[in-house]
């Protein structure tokens, strides 16, 4: 039992944070708790600290809205947190759509059809970044935050905290897309919010560190990684951080590694100095 927990420690922690956030949003509306109110496009922490979704902010900017100081402060808080500490942790530790896409990935693993993709993943490698820009341009054209109309993150969090309506259809579509059309298709190839957080967290300090000496090249990490392309250049090749900007810091690779070759570590930008603090203990 203890082994099961330690083997899934990050997974359990992630599920706790994801559900806790949803639960707090729910409680804010139904019971009037003042811990975390709003939803993932904008929230207020303890009724004072604003938190703004950077992509929603950008869309509003492109749509031509007058931006309030609250939004700017919220944006700075979020940029500082993910830019310095979290990286793309939003996607695996906060975003509730991750629950759906992880479930789809699990279904793929259990039914052993992981490689069956109706769309070639190679062909749409950078699609999300192009889509991110396209939706900003379309926001200007239609004069409203265009992606927010279809954003499943918003639909999911609003569904929990407020009303879901027909939103579940859209969430089901994402599940089916991920499970049967393209592996990690939504989070890994389409979602512009994830792309935005990739860019924001490109230079953060918490990263997974790989020790080549311990690696036996078993491939377990590649099996579970939702963004396996970030592992490619490092695993069993060199002692280095997983530097790919699309790494979501989910820690799944660390858990499945039987050889203790991976761990969370603080990235050190000052060269020549060995400073690997282990942040996982």
């Amino acid at each position: 039992m203890i082994k099961l927990i330690t083997k899934n420690r990050y997974l359990i922690l992630r599920r706790i944070t994801q559900f806790l956030i949803l639960f707090l949003y729910f409680g804010a509306n139904y019971y009037g708790w003042k811990v975390l109110i709003g939803n993932l496009s904008f929230s207020k922490l303890f009724n004072t600290i604003p938190l703004t979704d950077p992509y929603a902010f950008l869309q509003m900017l492109f749509a031509g809205a007058v931006i309030s100081s609250n939004l700017i402060i919220g944006l700075i808080v979020v940029l500082l947190f993910y830019g310095i500490i979290g990286g793309r942790a939003y996607c695996s530790w906060v975003c509730p759509v991750n629950l759906i896409t992880d479930l789809a990935a699990w279904v793929r693993r259990k039914t052993h059809h992981e490689k069956d993709n109706l769309v070639s993943a190679m062909k749409i490698k950078k699609f999300r970044y192009a889509f991110l820009i396209a939706m900003l341009i379309f926001s200007t054209i239609i004069g409203a935050a265009a992606y927010e109309f279809i954003n499943p993150i918003g639909i999911f969090t609003r569904g929990v905290a407020f009303t879901l309506g027909f939103g579940w259809v859209w969430l089901l579509v994402i599940f089916i897309f991920d499970a049967f059309v393209l592996k990690n298709g939504w989070c890994g190839h389409i979602c512009p919010v994830g792309a935005m957080y990739s860019l924001i967290g490109a230079k953060n300090i918490i990263r997974v560190y790989h020790t080549k000496e311990n690696c036996t090249n078993c491939g377990n990490c590649f099996m579970v990684c939702p963004e396996a392309q970030v592992l490619g250049p490092v695993i069993n090749k060199k002692d280095d951080y997983i530097t790919g900007i699309e790494c979501t810091n989910c820690g799944r690779c660390i858990e499945v590694c039987e050889d203790n070759a991976l761990k969370f570590s603080l990235r050190n930008f000052i060269k020549g100095e060995k400073n690997e603090k282990n942040s996982s203990n």
Partner: protein, 271 residues
């Protein structure tokens, strides 16, 4: 990767992103165009509102947890909702259905002050002097359908009049003799848009199966008189033409036809 494949990939990528973006934004555009959604007090004009609202739901939280709670038949009445797909309002934006949950016009306007983006702003909820109060909210305007309002049949009702928080200002009762019976009076409700906040208490109170008085967004329902009409009996309105020039220029030549001919052009008098 050589230049040819790079360019090829780039073009394919842009094409895919444009196609996907076009589909998504066509959906968004279609979804955005829901002019009948009623907004909370202090909302910017719909076009600006849809740009500025970040869909966070702080207004809905504030409304749900307001002090001014209304319980009818043991059920708490919720006013604001965040639109989900299928709610016939732009996804994620706040709206209310007055028939089931009108605005109860809290004095402290919690929803408006909760808004972080300025999509709900006190500037849209004030009078000419700049005083902010819920009574100056302009959420919509009440509209009466005379064919189904029983007051127009000659029955006494006045439910909307009595439900109105701006009683005797937003809805007044006009008395008219009922010529059908010869001895009764019609007591007709009349809405005065200047005072109507669009809270929807009247719509909730209306006794007909489907309400005969409904709230419509002001931009949808209210007309607009062009500038050339000036109320000769209103001193205030006269101010508008105080500095108007008395010189007139005739831009079109006088018609050579006589006035009756001119007005009835195209009329065939023979049949």
């Amino acid at each position: 990767m050589d230049r040819r494949t790079f360019l090829n990939n780039l073009i394919q990528l842009s094409a895919a992103a444009t196609a996907a973006g076009a589909i998504a934004s066509a959906f968004a555009e279609e979804n955005k165009d829901k002019p009948l959604a009623l907004r909370p007090p202090g909302a910017l004009p719909e076009k600006e509102f849809i740009k500025t609202c970040i869909r966070c739901g702080l207004c809905v939280d504030a409304c749900k947890n307001r002090e001014n709670k209304m319980i009818i038949n043991g059920k708490e009445i919720d006013t604001l909702y965040l639109a989900a797909p299928g709610d016939n309002a732009p996804i994620g934006t706040p709206f209310f259905h007055p028939r089931t949950g009108p605005c109860f016009m809290c004095d402290d306007i919690p929803c408006m002050y909760a808004c972080p983006t300025g999509a709900l702003t006190p500037k849209e909820c004030q009078n000419d002097k700049g005083e902010v109060a819920i009574d100056y909210a302009k959420m919509g305007v009440a509209v009466i359908d005379p064919s189904s309002c029983i007051a127009f049949w000659g029955l006494q009702c006045t439910a909307c009049y009595r439900a109105c928080p701006e009683m005797d200002k937003a809805i007044t009762i006009e008395w008219k003799p009922n010529e059908r019976t010869g001895e009764h009076a019609y007591r007709i409700p009349v809405v005065h848009e200047k005072y109507c906040t669009g809270c929807g208490m009247c719509e909730m109170a209306c006794i007909t199966e489907k309400p005969a008085i409904k709230i419509f967004p002001r931009e949808v329902f209210l007309g607009k008189v062009s500038n050339r009409y000036v109320k000769g009996w209103s001193k205030q309105d006269q101010q508008r033409v105080k500095n108007a020039s008395t010189k007139t220029t005739t831009k079109t030549p006088w018609s050579s036809e006589n006035p009756i001919q001119n007005l009835n052009q195209g009329v065939n008098w023979n049949d």
